[in-house]
Amino acid sequence: MQEARVIPLQRADRRRRVPTSAAPKPDGPIVEPTPLHPTREHPPVSAVRRGIGDALGFAVRRLTGDYPIDEFGFDPDLTERVLLPPLRLLYKNWFRVEVSGIENLPVDGGALVVSNHSGTLPLDALMTAVAVHDNHPRQRYLRMLGADLVFQVPLLGALARKSGQTLACNPDAEQLLNAGELVGVWPEGFKGVGKPFADRYKLQRFGRGGFVSAALRTGVPIIPCSIVGAEEIYPKIGDLKTVARLFGLPYFPITPFFPLLGPLGAIPLPSKWHIHFGEPIPTDSYDAGADDDPMLVFNLTDQVRETIQQTLYRMLSQRGNPFLG
């Protein structure tokens, strides 16, 4: 058996100078310690393997419940990996959405995106969310404000919350804006999304201006957003009011293909879309309590509405065929 040899450390040092402190000073070149259990070298994994590994990691995370959720039920992990990809397909290949004015969205901090609403089914909201997320330099999420009907419907309500939507009410909007989120609102509501095809691109009444008071109270800019193309996806040429009342819906649309072709009629027509984010309208220059001034709220509401309407007319005049762009 070999005997252990004692090797005195820092012999030369000790001889040269009186030790000032008991602890040896860590001067001299730093020597990388040799690991006792060398970690196995990771040769680059192929893209396919990494993809499968990622997917499995996602599945494990989901099944162990190891993912963050915010107060509103927003689940970024699920949104990024499950909800956005199919919407992106629709966005890129079906509606071929073109986006302009993305520089008008703030890089960080809160802002209220106000947009026109159309298309019988609120696909325009979803496409705007994709447009913001995919074009913004920071890939921000658009936190949409939805009607209470959305949250009553099983599955849809849960998914809406997980994709970052919340109820369109002032407390929620202000909380999100104060937290510096990008909030999307469609103040026309059902009146806008369910308007007949003949009224296309004519803005409806902008609610009661609740969104303006939310912006005034939080001092965030309002960004008018105009969407062209969404009106043509389901041209609503009729409305079965009795059926709608039976199901508790705001309207029951008749389009050229629905309910005639049944589920096939639910396929949106492939119109060419254009989403434009306009110049931000600042609201922080008003003094405190401005949200209590109904006249100011009405005026601002009108200003936002007019901006969107004029932009819509301009965009429409530049557009050729609704389906080819």
Binding site: I69, P154, A158, T166, C169
Partner: protein, 342 residues
């Protein structure tokens, strides 16, 4: 102001009993009186030290005698049960909650020695619905509350407390709206619910849950009884868990049930004496509830130690729940895919 004589109601329960024990450990307090119809559990009695137990019913005018004769200056009303853990008799609980509070407040109003009142309320007063805001602040009014039920009781209790505060402006009143309690040592409707191997949920709905660790609940009640803060305060841990997420974290299996069929499933579980599925609770499982705790942190000066997730994990590990389901196979498969053969 340090209280001299503290009266705690509901010492037979978890919060009341442990709160009395904590207050008894404070040498600055001269006397701690615990009131309930049932004595505290044996393990709590051991920790209660010098706290005295008065077997009395707060629905009985006798309580007024207890308060005046002992010269009670701080009353902590912790006996209201708004989320009974197991199946309970509805009418009895309503009596205890509402009539008990009325009697207690009437007694307090007559007692000039009373300077401080702390009421344990519940976040259930906000209700839960598709039309309520995502985050409740203290000023939000309840929406879509059932015409009866424990939440309604709590709303009535709070109304009586407000009335009392108006009639006795010299008494500082703090109402604490506690989120659902969780923890390894507490027995609540949620701890029983997540202990079921297969957890019935509402099909197509996923509730946002904000919880409160039982230790944090005790700490906030203690702080409230020693302090001066006046008003209504939401008390809840930071962060949110989705119901589905919590079920997965506990390693349970969810069983989505149609909303219409859930009362029947609830009756089945009630019949089996497992867990109570009151209509309030079903609504909570539908939509969930999140509280804004800014006022608690800024004005009251209390920040919960546990986040919702930590509190839930503490409950899962502390109550030794055996996971019914763990995705070990998937995790192993993932490791195998990401490791290349050398």
């Amino acid at each position: 102001m340090t209280p001299k004589v503290v009266l705690v109601t509901g010492v037979g329960g978890y919060l009341g009993g442990n709160l009395a024990a904590r207050l008894a450990a404070d040498p600055d307090i001269e006397r701690v009186l615990g009131v309930d119809t049932v004595p505290p559990p044996k393990d709590v009695v051991r920790t209660m030290g010098r706290a005295e137990f008065v077997r009395a019913d707060i629905r009985n005018p006798l309580i007024a005698k207890v308060i005046t004769s002992a010269g009670v200056d701080t009353v902590v009303h912790a006996s209201t049960t708004t989320n009974p853990a197991g199946p309970a008799r509805r009418m009895v609980l309503k009596e205890l909650n509402v009539i008990g509070t009325m009697q207690l407040l009437a007694a307090c109003q007559r007692a000039p020695s009373v300077r401080r009142l702390v009421v344990k309320s519940t976040a259930a007063v906000y209700g839960a619905s598709s039309r309520s805001p995502a985050v409740f602040s203290e000023d939000d009014a309840p929406k879509d509350l059932g015409s009866s039920g424990y939440a309604k009781d709590a709303v009535e209790v709070e109304a009586y407390v407000r009335g009392f505060a108006r009639r006795r402006p010299d008494v500082s009143v703090a109402t604490l709206r506690l989120a659902n309690l969780i923890g390894p040592s507490v027995d609540t409707v949620l701890t029983r619910y997540f202990a079921l191997p297969i957890v019935p949920t509402v099909l197509g709905f996923d509730a946002r849950m904000q919880l409160l660790h039982s230790e944090d609940a005790l700490a906030v009640l203690e702080l409230a009884s020693l302090g001066e803060a006046t008003g209504v305060f939401n008390v809840a841990a930071d962060g949110v868990l989705m119901l589905s997420q919590a079920i997965r974290r506990a390693g349970r299996l969810p069983l989505p049930v149609l909303r219409q069929a859930l009362p029947a499933a609830g009756r089945l579980l009630r019949g089996a004496r497992l867990v109570d599925f009151s209509p309030d609770h079903v609504r909570y499982l539908n939509y969930g509830r999140v509280l804004d705790t800014t006022r608690l942190k800024a004005e009251f000066g209390f920040t919960p130690r546990w986040t919702t997730r930590q509190a839930f994990d503490d409950y899962v590990s502390g109550s030794k729940l055996r996971p019914v389901f763990t995705p070990t196979l998937l995790a192993a498969a993932r490791r195998r895919v990401l490791e290349t053969r050398t």
